[in-house]
Amino acid sequence: MTKEKDAHRDVSHTPGLMVGDFNTLQIMGRAETAKANAEKFTFLPLPAGSVVGEISVPSNWLRLQEGDHTRTPRLTLRPSINDSTLICVNKHRDLPESTASNTFKTLMARGLSPSESKVIYSEGAKSGEFERKVVTALDAVLGTTLVGDNQLSNPYKSPDPRAPIFHLEKMELKNLNGKIVLAVDGHFGQVNADGTVKTDAAGKPMQSSYTGVFAPKDSRAWGIEEIYMLSGDKEDFQKNKAIFNRMLNSVSWQHGP
């Protein structure tokens, strides 16, 4: 693969979302989809060791410095430096063989056709101990201190400082460009620079909407890559979701499904 040569290839002609494509196209307005398709994109190769081989990203978005720690290099994009929306390709640390990796491996073994999905948890739908156990078992795959720290895996309730920082709304298995991934929707509580909870004028905790996928490096599920979008503004979140989905559809995997 001649990634270097294609590193800055203009891909404004890259096809946008297609009906039946990954994720929730149907809930997006046509205007947002049209804007996303009009956005100029650029192919980026990711470093060796990443699950993602190439991904196209909005050409004009800011790219933040990749992580300087060996286990979690990442690519972060923002429309502007102070925008509350960010899209991130985040390599998690390699997991040892564990309950989490074995659980994910079991789920992956189920197999999914390109248009098929399997809901593991959906807020409001009937769920029981089994769903809680599955979600809890996956905490290390999701990131123990972030998405993995959710209301199913962490029994503490707010305002206890040990309460979960993520609220899970939906988790499902999907087939993204030939690889089975965990797709997650939910929201985080916002925090100030000193780590305290950020509240609005009325004293209500502020939230950041989240949507993302977790992709295993191989069938052992020891290496996990997370591609997600986060936004502190709900309107911005909806507006940029088409761009995020276009990014997801452009992913080519570094390793086989």
């Binding site: 410095q65 060996t70 923002r78 640390r93 972030l146 040990r162 780590g195």
Partner: protein, 840 residues
Amino acid sequence: MANSGEKTENSTPARNLEVRDDSVSSSGDHLNLVNIAASAERIVNHADQGTNPFRDLGTHADLQYLYNSPTRNQLEKKAEVHAQTRGSAEVTQREYSVKPGETPESIAKRELGKGASPDFVKAYAELVFGSGLGTDNPKPGEKILLPAVHKDGTFSLVNPDDTNQSYKYLGNGTFRVENSQSKEGYIQKTSPDGTVSIDSWGPKAADNCKLTIYANGSKRTDYKDGTGFTQEPGGAEKHWGPKFEDNWTRAPGGAKVEKKPDGTEVTSWLDGSELHQYKDGRGYSKAADGSVHAWGPKTEDNYEVDADGTKVWQDRWGINHSERSDGQFGIGNQRFRLDGALGLEINLSDNKGNNYQLRRDLAIVKTNQDGSVSRYEKNLDQTTTWPDGTIKQSNPLTGAGYLQKPDGQGGYVKHHWGRNPEENYDEKYDGKTGITFTVDGRGDKTTKWPNNGVKVERHDQSGYVRQPDGSEHHWGPGEQHNRDSTRDQTAVAKSRLELDKIADREIPEKDRALFKENLNKFEERAKREHLSPEEVAKTYEQMSKLLSARDAKVSKADRVLLAENFAHHLNHDESVDQGLHNTCNVTTIAERGFSRQPSRLAEMVTTTAIEGKWTAADGKVIIIDAGSLLPRAEERNSPPRDGDRSYAIQLLNVVMINDATQRRLPPAYYRQGNPDPARPGDTGERLVGGDGKPIMEKERYDDFSTTPPSKKYKDVPVSEPTLHDSEIHKVGKRLYGATDFFLTSGKRADGDGVVKYETQQQLHDKLIEMKNQHRLPAVLGVNGLTTPFGSGAPGTVSGGHVVSVRDYDEKTGRVRVSNQWGSPSDQWIDIKDLYENSIT
């Protein structure tokens, strides 16, 4: 409307006139205004314009334009009206068509009358034809504008361009030129000797001056404020005035020379070049293109600055340096940037051919002619290593040092010296048996075996032997010297019994068996690895205190978790992991403690959990914030998951890092909270100042709104401990009393106090020595981004990381490394690979 000199450069605004087609001047239907303009243009453009009273009439082309538009009639009418209003004209200003045979002189005489004196005639011709008598005769039919001639014999001309401006000849070579609207004007008088004096007035201070132009071309200008200057034909100027800065000279070549109150002499030229000469011998010249050449008695006084802003100089060793305005700098032939991509070392050579390396810890490493390498540290330690393994270290400040020579069989002999008696001793290490033998200046002999056994024979005939199990036999000339002490397992059994009782009460039944199993395994390891029973007993005593405390900062449930985690690490001292935190630095210190001195860690954890603070060995009290005492999502498991950080390690991390950062000036406080999801990769770690506010740093990003994309920075809170090598070393030294446990390549070192090696052989020797002297595990500085730790190719990227070295197999050349990233990262690594990783 003032006359000349620098002060007047802006007092008469240059006209911004369009260039007109001169061909219209060939038309015969022109006034003499055109002729005036032709001369005026020449005069205006002449350097001596200050003496031309008609200069404000403008250029030839300008006046042609004025003549043609607005119309001639309008101009003439304006001139006539103006002249009439003056009320004194005998002959009014008018248009005249030159007749055949007429000359400037004949016209002047006719207009002025027969009694006109020669100077009036000359002046008239000068006003009408520009250059006075002797001018080429006008062509017949040419239109000229004749001045008004007044009853008193004087004559005047009104500028058709500006009817407020008039030119009047007063006699005796004197013209009066004034502008009735701007209130500017001057009287110009030409003396018989050729001297021209011009007295100017006007509303501005600079307008009011007297200019004298001498026949030799020199000029003198005097202003009413007491300032003035003279100008010589060669360009030399002398300026004066009441203020110091008023007094300066300009050399004949056009240079301006100023003398400052401090004695500095500044010479500046019209092209912008400058020369600055200071009284102390320093100085610099600045060329018109901005380049600078500086000189002076000190090395740093001498440098060049290129036109692009690059500063170039040579240091005292003859090595060239450069510094660009964009932040790049160079030493020798190397180029660097100060944006974080700074190389780990700077290679350079002096003009004598010696090779140097400037290391990131500011140490200088010099390669000598005989192949030896000398290292000069910031603390003045000087260490020279020869190819045969001989090492000499000295310090002119402390006077202490040693010379170590290999014995060729894996051992060495070492001679120490210093100003204090205990610093003077000889040491012999047998590489085959692992036995170390020392004798000091008083004759006291000490023998250490690799199994931790020690024999001390003092010069006063007393001494003792300590067995690996801790039992001792003492002897000597006095009765008090002769005793035996048995350090049996009684203390261990007693403290364990107490801990078990508390555990039965406090630890949930489901976890209790594992807790006790871990303690059993720990006791087995203690015997196997020669941990003293006292060490084990002290550890248990602290754990009992932790579990039984009634009032503590950390809740009972969390203290149970803490005790269970601690017991896990006592049994699995190699599985001490940092989890999702930037704490490899002190996690290695903790791993060493669980291996060798767990009682120190038990005391740190227990004191902190109960009191919310911890007192270091030197009495420094380390305060821990309440949030950092809470187990976070990763740290709530018992036993801790592989690769995750345990709650016990969380507390140890927090205390150890604060033991370093709270000693900084100003102190910084390290805290552990939840990660901020809006900051990808955030671990929840923060450094805050004394005011509780986060300490900020710059985060770099690429801005694609510019072409080409630009590097920009955003303020973000510091989210890692930021410990240097020396701080890590000091934390361990204070905690364990050990000084030689932290190894790092001299090329990577960023602080003092650590054991630095230069070659693979030196790393090999140090590991053998530490293993044989029972001093492992060691802390080793490595590159976490490249193989075998990261995925990067060797030498491609640099990432600071430390690991624990647990063992070294000399036969296979492999090093057992315990990484803090979980069991998949723990591995045997070829010493060659480890060395090469550690130097990049």
